[in-house]
């Protein structure tokens, strides 16, 4: 069964000609056709283009070329611009938008011979924690289709979990890779801010957004991140730092690794969730790591800080959608202001409008100091707490989410309750830190995630810590019923 194989195993079979990329691509396209109607994870299928890319990859393989991702299919989150293919960002605003160029990560993966099968559903403009704000309807969790997959990379997470592709791309502004990865039982990596190019990734909150990967293991994620990461002159916040060989570093010994248990994450934590994290820590202890408790006193401010900073940046970024140059335009506008107001009012969904208005409010005269400036100061306090913690420990560990996946519709009426889903993930975004979520067990039959957070540019250490946890456990290898 081709969809059960790891990226490494697929690359091996492609290299020794046991399979071709075209066969592999057909296999996954057939799975999407059969299984996606029950999930709504994929909103654009690019079958013809995929088969052409696969044939090209087969020619490169036949010529003796080898690559970790050469000939291997993927699905891109629909936030990444793809030349000639609709790039909707989950919004009515961009329902008719055919991107005229590729995002840098799309270019890089194409060059590596990756085969795009299609585009994944997502919360509108990546604003949501349940994938219910999409213009294309909610995504269902493959573990229980009455439950959400998390968000905003919910389509990517569900597609990876249901084995609709060997891996998917995602973006993480406040937890949008790690939270859905946790709720669907896959491994999600949010790299350091600046590690992966944001060029061609539709902007939500520019000081927080970062692209990453959702895969079925840390080893698979390492192979993908290797290709995605690196300096890009087209992104002014891209960092010029060499990319380590992540796959080669996966087995670096964990002996003596200092793991900090985040005290603030355990306040009021569900006892079953806490038990899973304790079990994971026992695994790390058995691998030779030392654990100690650390405190980040300002961490509880993360959610209110984020819900000032992110909407402020969103209100500015989304001002580009004006109904003039691209995107949705309302019918028969009576003047230019009416054109702007109705194109935006009709083109954006409720959550996006709510965040634009929150951002407009906190940036407006009379409120700027009390909200935006205050939040920027709180952001520094939180970041300084992380810096102090990393003087004492190599990695921080805790749960990815407070609860397992919740029912579709359960939290849509109360934005603040929805925002609290991101309580454990937002800190890393505010401080620009890399984080990873790896499956660590189940509650009521639904997967849960262990979150590891490291200092800036510690992706190699995070991936190796997650990889060695996955060699000692098999949570990441569990497959939802019906998708085996």
């Amino acid at each position: 069964m081709l969809h059960t194989l790891s990226i490494g195993e697929l690359a091996e079979r492609l290299a020794d000609k046991r399979i071709s990329s075209v066969e592999l691509t057909r296999h996954f396209l057939a799975r999407i056709e059969r299984l996606n109607p029950g999930l709504n994870a994929v909103i654009t299928l690019t079958a013809e283009q995929a088969l052409e890319s696969a044939a090209a990859a087969d020619r490169r393989l036949a010529a003796g070329e080898r690559g970790r991702l050469l000939g291997i299919p993927l699905i891109h989150k629909d936030i990444f611009c793809t030349d000639g293919v609709r790039t909707s960002c989950g919004s009515r605003m961009l329902d008719n938008f055919i991107s005229p160029y590729d995002a840098t990560i799309v270019t890089k993966l194409k060059a590596a011979g990756a085969v795009m099968l299609g585009k994944a559903n997502m919360d509108e403009f990546a604003m949501g924690s349940s994938n219910e704000t999409s213009f294309y309807g909610p995504v269902k969790n493959p573990w229980d289709t009455s439950k959400v997959p998390g968000g905003s990379s919910g389509g990517s997470a569900a597609a990876s979990a249901a084995r609709l592709a060997p891996y998917t791309t995602g973006t993480d502004t406040g937890g949008s890779i790690r939270q859905p990865a946790a709720l669907t039982g896959v491994t999600g990596v949010k790299p350091t801010y600046g590690r992966v190019s944001r060029y061609g990734m539709i902007a939500f909150a520019s000081s927080l957004d970062q692209a990453g990967v959702l895969a079925r293991s840390a080893a698979d994620a390492a192979a993908v991140l290797q290709v995605m990461a690196g300096f890009d002159p087209k992104d002014s916040t891209s960092v010029e730092t060499p990319v380590p060989d992540y796959p080669a570093l996966l087995d670096a010994p964990l002996k003596g690794l200092k793991i900090g248990l985040l005290r603030e994450f355990f306040v009021g934590l569900d006892s079953r969730n806490a038990a899973l994290i304790q079990d994971a820590l026992a695994v790390y202890t058995s691998l030779g790591a030392d654990t100690l408790e650390v405190s980040l006193p300002h961490l509880p401010l993360s959610v209110p800080t984020y819900y000032v900073v992110a909407p402020a940046e969103c209100s500015s970024n989304l001002s580009r959608f004006d109904g003039v140059r691209y995107g949705y335009r309302c019918q028969s506008p009576k003047d230019l202001t009416d054109l702007y107001e109705r194109s935006r009012g009709e083109g954006f969904g409720a959550e996006v409008k709510r965040r634009i208005m929150t951002g407009t409010y906190v940036l407006s005269a009379g409120y700027f100091d009390a909200y935006y400036l205050k939040a920027q100061k709180a952001r520094r306090l939180i970041t300084d707490d992380f810096r102090a913690a990393f003087q004492k420990v190599d990695l921080l560990v805790g749960p990815t989410t407070p609860t397992p996946a919740f029912a579709i519709g359960a939290k849509m009426d109360d934005p603040v309750t929805m925002y609290l889903n991101d309580i454990y993930t937002i800190g890393a975004n505010l401080a620009g830190l890399p984080g990873i979520s790896a499956p660590c067990g189940f509650i009521d039959g639904l997967p849960m995630g262990l979150q590891l957070i490291g200092p800036h540019f510690s992706e190699a250490k995070l991936l190796s810590a997650a990889h060695q946890f996955q060699r000692a456990t098999d949570w990441h290898a569990r497959t939802p019923g019906g998708y085996e």
């Binding site: 107001e341 709510r354 407009t360 409010y361 306090l381 109360d414």
Partner: protein, 96 residues
């Protein structure tokens, strides 16, 4: 309610968003609850803390050589526009 209907109408106008009469009460309620929630920040002592705008302190904006790096793609770009005439974007009349 920390925000009134008039407040939200003003915010919507600043944000250039048309909000229907049916939608308005929902936004008044939800935006008020968000504002109440983030008001928690007011209780934090932030005295001399330097505001943080960017997660990677010390990162400076790069300069690039002042050379042409792009060719003219206006036709391709304008193929996404709602209304174009003679290479120009068309909007309702703004000057009488």
């Amino acid at each position: 309610m920390s925000l009134t209907r008039q407040d939200v109408e003003k915010i919507a106008r600043l944000a250039r968003l048309s909000i229907t009469d049916q939608e308005m009460p929902v936004y008044v309620t939800s935006l008020s609850s968000i504002v109440d929630f983030v008001d928690e920040l007011a209780r934090v002592e932030t005295g001399n803390v330097e505001p943080m705008a960017h997660p990677l302190d010390g990162l400076h904006q790069r300069m690039r050589p002042d050379v042409v790096s792009e060719s003219d793609h206006h036709e391709k770009y304008q193929s996404n526009a709602p209304q174009v005439q003679a290479g120009l974007y068309v909007v309702p009349r703004v000057i009488e």
